[in-house]
């Protein structure tokens, strides 16, 4: 037992959970506002990783020293742009059609991004190694090793989550977002421009997924066009576990997911693959509204 459940694994789990948190926040925000499972969200994360890859390699080839903050800004911007474009082209025309239609186009967008990236000759379907953006350092405290990557991952996601919490709770835009998620028609009557709030939601969600993409690229330096599928499913599971549509729930769910996945993988790699699915089934069986979600009756 001591070999599996130790502090080192806990730290690895928190690190993984931070990355999941950034992805699942986008899922939960979009779901909260437009009631859509955005299948393409995992692919926004992939876009972020590739954007960083190209920027860093471009800079390295020209021997330009590029600030890390700029790389983050650029690839968060790229993911946000793709997210907004997907919303504009594929989701917005279907806003008042049956909900299933937008779910199907979301699947189409996801496939399009994956296969378009792997079909493009300069990207291709194979693995690429992510350049070393930050030099790795390992701090040893007792018998625990903490890499500076873990610190970066946790710090970046903490900063972004604090920013999001501030935005949602303290600003006018955040108030409008909460209003739209509660009642679209009433929000519109109050003079809120629903479409621009939805666009902002996609922008933030996409940017967070892009940040998760760089963090994943730094930490697990192998990127490929299908890298978003599994983290996407796991982050969605985390959002459901926390209560979909609930922002603190997504954060809590992600850390639970990350930690349980690390422990399960240490125990048995097959179990590590399946743990997300098992959690999802158990949550749906016993508490479909999630840990922090509220039971809502369906209205006619």
């Amino acid at each position: 037992m001591g070999e599996i459940f130790n502090l080192q694994q806990l730290i690895n789990g928190i690190q993984l959970g931070s990355i999941y948190a950034l992805i699942s926040l986008g899922y939960t925000m979009v779901y909260g506002i437009v009631r859509l499972i955005n299948f393409a969200h995992g692919d926004f994360y992939m876009v972020g990783a590739y954007a960083a890859y190209f920027i860093v390699n471009f800079a390295l080839a020209r021997h330009v020293n590029i600030p890390v903050v700029f790389v983050f800004a650029a690839s968060m911007g790229a993911s946000a742009l793709i997210a907004m474009a997907a919303n504009r082209i594929a989701y917005r025309p279907l806003r008042y059609k049956p909900r299933l239609s937008a779910l199907i186009t979301a699947l189409g967008v996801s496939m399009f991004l994956e296969y378009f990236f792997s079909a493009l000759p300069f990207i291709g379907p194979s693995f690429r190694s992510f350049p070393e953006l930050i030099t790795q350092r390992i701090f040893t405290i007792g018998n625990i090793k903490i890499s500076n990557y873990a610190i970066v991952d946790v710090a970046v996601s903490a900063v972004l989550m604090i920013f999001l919490t501030y935005l949602v709770r303290r600003t006018k835009v955040g108030m409008a977002m909460r209003a739209v998620s509660q009642d679209k028609d009433a929000a519109r009557l109050m003079g809120i421009n629903i479409e621009s709030i939805i666009t902002i939601t996609f922008l933030i969600g996409g940017a967070f997924a892009g940040a998760a993409g760089i963090l994943a690229g730094i930490t697990y330096p192998r990127i490929y066009p299908y890298m978003g599928i599994l983290p996407g499913i796991k982050a969605f599971t985390a959002a459901v576990l926390g209560g979909i549509g609930n922002i603190p729930g997504a954060m809590l769910g992600s850390y639970i997911m990350g930690i349980s996945e690390t422990f399960a993988t240490a125990y048995n790699s097959l179990l590590g693959e399946g743990i997300a699915f098992a959690i999802l089934i158990i949550v749906l069986l016993f508490r479909p509204q999630g840990l922090l979600g509220e039971v809502t009756a369906e209205k006619v």
Binding site: I37, F39, I89, A90, P93, L94, K97, R99, L100, S101, A102, L103, I104, T105, L107, G108, V109, M111, F112, E114, Y115, F116, S118, A119, P121, G124, P125, I229, L230, I233, F236, T237, V240, L270, E273, G274, A276, F277, L280, I281, L284, L285, P288, E298, V300
Partner: protein, 325 residues
């Protein structure tokens, strides 16, 4: 009236069968074309059964090829690893049909296990659970050495010939049509149109959704068993998400809630897919563009013609009654 129309439909189908069979024995249709027709017929089974879940009942399953994988592997294990039968004497065909049915039942049981917890909830949860299921089933198969793991299950006897595939596809279509025009079928349609209203008029929505899902999974298992015994191997990559999406495109291109549409789209897209493979290979472009085409097709259908080719209607010979009645 009802029997007359069914007989008419069977007669039409037999004419189709006879023409293909005759042309093949005369050498007008090559073995390659016949193989694509066989594939199309298997896709007819897969697409119509997915249409039962996604089109008629209004759910959103993304694990159809996962059920097909269950059917292919279970039936393949029976024929290849346990019975060691080869096509030849009639007795071996009986055993093959039993293996196929066992594959279908196994897929249906897995469907029941997944459907029971998930279908109590709103439709979009089913999407993500079945998506996860499709990934899990491949991970499991990859890790079982008995069925070959990532190498796949090799040396499956080639039991699926044109006759067997044709009869199975015909039976599937007739059974699904009869189901849809039964009281169960009406319940499925009412759930798609308005789950709350149908609950109010006494439809047990969870129960009906589970029935539709399990029947769909059963036929997916049958389709998988036929596919395994046609290609003489079962490989985890054949049952991936890509293949599920291909069946999904067939359902939505043909039109939600139209068996005729699924049949037309299954043939059309199987031939298109082969054509694109040859075309892209000839001009030396990455094969991934084929999937890009599907993705764009799926988005376009949803944006501009949500009801698909057939627009939810059926060919007259597939209806159990005359239109004017």
């Amino acid at each position: 009236m009802r029997n007359k129309k069914t007989i008419l439909f069977i007669v039409y189908s037999l004419i189709f069968y006879a023409i293909i069979f005759l042309f093949h024995s005369l050498g007008i249709i090559s073995d390659y074309i016949l193989h694509i027709i066989n594939l199309s017929l298997i896709y007819v089974i897969l697409a119509t059964s997915l249409n039962l879940i996604n089109g008629f009942t209004g759910q959103f399953s993304l694990g159809h090829m996962g059920f097909a994988a269950v059917g292919a592997y279970i039936s393949g294990i029976l024929t290849t690893l346990i019975w060691h039968i080869k096509p030849g004497n009639p007795g071996s065909y009986v055993l093959f049909i039993i293996a196929m049915l066992v594959g279908g039942v196994a897929a249906a049981l897995v469907g029941l296990l997944i459907g029971l917890p998930t279908l109590r909830l709103r439709g979009d949860y089913l999407a993500i659970v079945t998506l996860g299921f499709g990934e899990i089933i491949r991970t499991i198969i990859n890790n079982i050495d008995y069925v070959g793991g990532p190498r796949g299950l090799l040396g499956i006897p080639k039991f699926s010939n044109f006759t067997i595939i044709f009869i199975t596809a015909l039976l599937t279509v007739i059974l699904l049509r009869n189901l849809i025009f039964s009281s169960h079928g009406r319940a499925f349609l009412s759930i798609r149109e308005d789950p709350i209203a149908s609950e109010l008029v006494g439809v047990n929505t969870t129960r009906q959704k589970v029935i539709a899902f399990v029947i769909g999974a059963f036929f997916a298992g049958i389709g998988g068993a036929l596919l395994g015994h046609l290609l003489t191997l079962a490989h985890p990559t054949q049952y991936g998400f890509m293949q599920t999406v291909m069946v999904l495109v067939m359902v939505y291109a043909g039109g939600m809630g139209s068996i005729s549409g699924s049949i037309v789209a299954a043939f059309g897209l199987t031939f298109l897919s082969e054509g694109l493979r040859i075309l892209l290979g000839a001009i030396g472009v990455a094969i991934e563009w084929r999937m890009v085409v599907y993705a764009v097709l799926l988005i376009m259908i949803m944006l501009f013609r949500t009801s698909g080719i057939m627009g939810g209607r059926e060919f007259n010979f597939l209806l159990p009654f005359n239109k004017e009645e």
